[in-house]
Every structure is written in structure tokens, then in C-alpha cells.
Symmetry: C2
Subunit: 216 residues, 2 copies
């Protein structure tokens, strides 16, 4: 009985809660990242964000709208930070790539977030019913590989990479490494696991960019 | 009315259907591979396999049992075929690795199957409620990387790889490439995309295994 009274008192106490959009999006992002789009129900989202369903509908229209907003939050929080290394014009090409990979490893294994890349984790196991969400994710994902390829092309034009380097093949190879790193992080690999892979990649960078010819 | 009669006639016609375990498993495998463990319901499985629910329960106990059997079917159909390249003692180490990667690329982009690796596709977006399934997948997945590392170790002992090569680091690097290839295949990358990545990897093989020192 006294417990019930406590609850009633709590409900009435203080100012009415203000809806904190960013905090709600952070909770929604974690949920989608962990369980995927289809594995996350609206009632899960209501429970996690602490917001009422009508508030979520008013702000985001539907689950897809909330997913889109969570995705934008991810880009703002993580992708932008990772890609900053590519925008630093002072860094030589190899160092910029290494900084980008190290930042990615840190991001993928960050303890306060689910492991791996949000786009990769949520894009597997989508049913045909979620074609629009799949297209949204694929577009975001391709834009990451484009950022890498644009960076390499700019550096080639500045003469930092040989004109013979096939930029799209190089971007594809690096993209594949990042995708693999995401899978490993998702499966619980620690940062050192990813860092050791980056060590090997950077040791091969001269070969990869054609400066070193393998012995016959 | 005549439609109803037709249905009744159809129901009684011919011999009673014999349950084809392998055919049912193939259908279940495709479903789990496409939508993941949680994204596949028992009613989806009943509809896809054409078997009645009591038949499925009698054969596989529950959804987890059916998933386990589908996983074993995958290993039997695909993993065994891919790993055959590693068991061919006549192939030099580089050619065996290349054959393994090419077989993997073919398997991941096979038109009659969902893209990518079954273990990777189904292991993302699993909720905490499916901890046992997650453990099952992780074990299978680790056993693939162990197969690779056992192969490399044997070849090192035979003197085909320098004693200085760090086998676990090399297996980790190669495993990461395979995981990345799975993600790309799942996102619709054609076989040529994966083959171009394998071309780059094999061109770097001498560096990767320490035969080539990068120019300072």
C-alpha cells in the first residue's frame, strides 16, 4: 500500500518532463544498432526512450522516421569523427589512412556502444518488407566508400599516389577491410585485434600503393 | 462450391506426402540466412518448408533445433566445399589460399543462395534472448578461422612459410578479409568485386608473408 502511495507521489512531483530529443535518439540508436530494424519494436523504443508513444509519433511520424533520425544521429556522432582524419590536408596520405583506420577501430570497439558499424549491423537480416530502410542504409554505406575514394583521388591528383594506382580497386580493398573489422568488433573482438590488422595493412601500404614490387 | 470440392479432392488424391528432411532444411536455411534467427518465425518456416508444424516439431523439437540442423546443412554444403582447398596437400601455400578465397567468393555470390556467409549474416542483430544461438554461431565462426590458422601452421612446419611469420596475426588478417567479403556480397556486390579484392590480396601475398621488404 505504502509502495503504491510512493508511486503516486512520484508521478505528480516536479515539473512535467521535457522531451529530450537527442537523449531519446541516443537510446533508439543503441536499440536499432543492437537488434536491427526489424528486431526493434515500437514498444521497445517507448520503453527505452522513456517517451510516450504519442510523443514519438509526433516527433518522428513512425518507426521508419525514428530509424532515419537515429541514423542521422550516428553519422553526426561517429562517421563525422572518423572521416575528420581524411579531411586533414596536413597529414601525408599513409598517415591519414592510418588515422582513419585507427579512429574506426576505436569507434567500432567503443564500450558504450554496440560493437561494429551501425550501417553494417543493421543492414543484414532485413526482410523485403523493409526495402526503403535497406536502400537508406546502402546509400549511407556507399557514401562512406565514396569518401575514401574521393580522398585517395585528391591525393593522387596532388602527386602523393602514383598515377598508376587504381583508385577504385584500392578503395574497394580498404572498404573490405573496414567491413571485416566491423564484423569482428560486433562479434566481440577487442580493439587490439583490430589494431593488429591495421598494423599489417599499414606494413603493406607501400606494396598496396605500388611502391614496392614483390620479388619474383 | 466447386472450388471447395476441388480442394477436397486434392487433399485426398495420391499418396500421403513423405517428409523430405533435406529439402525442408534447404528451405529453412535460406529463410534463416535471409532474415536471421529472430526475423524468421515458425509460421514462416511452416509456409516455406511445406511441412506441417507437428512434423517440424517431431523432427527438430523447436525453432532452435531447426536452426541448428540448418546450420549443419550449411556446413555440409558450403563450408566443407570451401575448406577442401586447404586440405589439398599438393597445392603450394599461396595457391591453396587463393583457391580457398576464390571458392569463398563463389559461395558468397552464388545466385541460388542469399549473399554472404550464413554465420555472419545471422549473427548480427541477435537479441540477448538468443544467447545460445549466438554462442552456437560464434563457435562455428571461430572454427573457420581455426581451420585457416591450422592450415598455415602446418605449412609453416613444412617450411613453406618463414618461421618468422606470425601465424595468428596472418590468420586474423585473412579472416578479416573474408568477413569483409561476406558483408559486400550480402549488400549485392558481384563476384568480380570480390575477385578484384582477392587479386590485390594475392599480389601482396609475398609482402604479407614477409618475403618482400617494403622500401624505406
Amino acid at each position: 500500500m505504502s509502495q503504491l502511495q510512493d508511486c503516486d507521489v512520484k508521478k505528480c512531483r516536479g515539473r512535467p518532463k521535457v522531451f529530450d530529443r537527442d537523449a531519446a535518439l541516443d537510446k533508439a540508436l543503441t536499440l536499432f544498432w543492437t537488434h536491427g530494424y526489424e528486431g526493434t519494436s515500437l514498444s521497445d523504443l517507448v520503453a527505452a526512450t522513456g517517451a510516450k508513444a504519442p510523443t514519438l509519433y509526433a516527433e518522428f511520424v513512425n518507426k521508419e522516421g525514428l530509424f532515419r533520425a537515429a541514423m542521422e544521429r550516428y553519422v553526426e556522432k561517429f562517421s563525422a569523427w572518423r572521416e575528420a582524419a581524411l579531411g586533414d590536408e596536413q597529414l601525408p596520405v599513409a598517415q591519414a589512412i592510418e588515422a582513419y583506420f585507427r579512429a574506426t577501430a576505436a569507434c567500432f570497439t567503443e564500450r558504450n556502444s554496440p560493437g561494429g558499424c551501425f550501417f553494417i549491423c543493421t543492414s543484414t537480416a532485413l526482410s523485403a518488407a523493409s526495402a526503403e530502410v535497406a536502400a537508406m542504409l546502402q546509400q549511407q554505406h556507399q557514401s562512406q566508400e565514396h569518401a575514401l575514394s574521393d580522398f585517395l583521388l585528391t591525393r593522387q591528383q596532388r602527386g602523393e599516389l602514383s598515377a598508376e594506382v587504381n583508385i577504385s580497386a584500392l578503395a574497394r580493398y580498404l572498404g573490405c577491410m573496414l567491413q571485416g573489422m566491423s564484423v569482428r568488433a560486433r562479434e566481440g573482438a577487442p580493439r587490439e585485434d583490430l589494431d593488429s590488422i591495421i598494423d599489417a595493412l599499414m606494413a603493406m601500404w607501400p606494396t598496396l600503393t605500388g611502391l614496392c614490387q614483390a620479388k619474383p
